[in-house]
Symmetry: C2
Subunit: 270 residues, 2 copies
């Protein structure tokens, strides 16, 4: 491989999403491959919702593709493309990684939740015993809520414009983590009585987006986490900073799961 | 892009073939992209013959894919996936490049023949007025024979284990280039009376391959061209060298079409 970037033997990985230009996984994972002397690239694959299954089946048929990372808006739908799920991915009902097994079947797992929890712990956010308000109950939101419950949250209050998503997620958390219950609210903007506000909705990612809810002034004691990575400071995080809150964006979430990606994809430790 | 290799905005190109590890287009084209400051990669895509159309349609649905190079064994079959062919590709009945147009349709072209002719001219092989024996009448072979006729070959004698391929190619050449006629032979090994021997069969590419025909000693005046790039010296070229012949491998053919690829893909001149 030497100083080359790519040759005919380069193994391929990809991150599948739409939009795709904002993702950081290609540069982060490709950097790890190179540091470890692995002739591989992780590429951005912009896959639209329309025709998702057939596009994915095409990618999955590439003989030199060794794995895919799945991001917005495909984390739930990608579940139906794999033959086996980890128990964690089964609880969440969504995957963010999939890989081919030697027998030709595909296996899926979900590391978003653990990645976020690990990132929050590194940044000094404690989760155990906290009352948490979470916006967004899609694929990423499901992973986050399950991981927050597993990390000992006192109570998780879910809000999503599609209320059935929030309801379904609450039912699953209350089934798997009855001592760390979840509930649903339609009040997106209220933050009184919460220790942490976590945004798992995509609002704030696209240019021109505002906050995901019409928030008033935050109590400076409220911790605010946004799983969006790009822009680095969403309107929500800018508001939190102005209110004197401790705030964190989504970058620690992805950085917190790079090692898990490597283990899942069989990339050896350096 | 700076010193990075890939990010979420990287545009994708690919070369589609099976096997794929031997191709040189990824490093050559990616080197050009970087020299010109274009944030793009050309990747190896190993696509099997089984399921070719559905795999290709998956790749063609990627929103950040800007073009594909097609190589063995897919050059003929890929024709059926594009909506429009250049006149040259229509004559050949095969393509080695395809790209999406702004209206969502795909366009195909074929540069193998011109690439080989340009490479041969650079290496001092003259074509005009020469009697040429050509082995292999598949996608690449069709492009080569058409370009050799267009470059003024006196006569082209075609030999392929699938004789119908050779027959069909001869018919097309005699239709489009009646003053530079083609004929068919079943004698693969005979070289008496020829000025040039051109191998367009895949024999010699895989480890353990021998020569594409049971050749005897060559006349040192015979020019020998093999369009295979890897290994650099096929058994045929080693034999030609031992016989004192002027010999050339397939690398000049691909190098001779890199500028044509750039123009076709809309990569600007540096």
């Amino acid at each position: 491989m030497e100083n080359n970037i790519v040759d005919g033997s380069t193994r391929l990985f990809g991150i599948v999403g739409d939009p795709i230009s904002q993702v950081k996984t290609p540069q982060l994972m490709t950097g790890i491959f190179r540091a470890r002397g692995v002739n591989a690239l992780l590429l951005p694959f912009q896959v639209a919702e329309e025709g998702f299954e057939s596009t994915m089946k095409g990618l999955m048929s590439l003989r030199n593709l060794d794995g895919l990372v799945i991001t917005v808006p495909h984390k739930v739908r990608a579940c139906s493309l794999v033959d086996s799920l980890s128990p964690r991915a089964g609880q969440v009902g969504a995957i963010n990684v999939m890989r081919p097994l030697p027998d030709g079947t595909w296996s899926g797992d979900m590391f978003d939740g653990e990645g976020l929890v690990r990132g929050m712990e590194k940044q000094g956010f404690s989760i155990a015993g906290k009352r948490i308000k979470q916006l967004g109950a899609g694929g990423g939101g499901s992973a986050v809520a399950v991981a927050l419950a597993a990390a000992g949250a006192d109570r998780i209050t879910l809000c999503d414009p599609q209320q059935s998503l929030a309801q379904g997620l609450a039912v699953r958390i209350n089934h798997f983590y009855p001592r760390h219950p979840a509930e649903v609210t339609t009040d997106s903007a209220g933050t009184d009585g919460y220790d942490l506000l976590v945004n798992c909705s995509p609002v704030g990612m696209r240019p021109g987006d505002g906050m995901p809810a019409p928030f008033g002034e935050f109590d400076p004691a409220l911790g605010v986490v946004d799983i969006i990575m790009h822009p680095e400071e969403t309107p929500l995080l800018a508001h939190a900073r102005r209110c004197g809150c401790r705030a964190m964006n989504g970058r620690p979430m992805i950085e917190g799961q790079l090692e898990a990606f490597c283990a899942f994809f069989g990339i050896r430790q350096s």
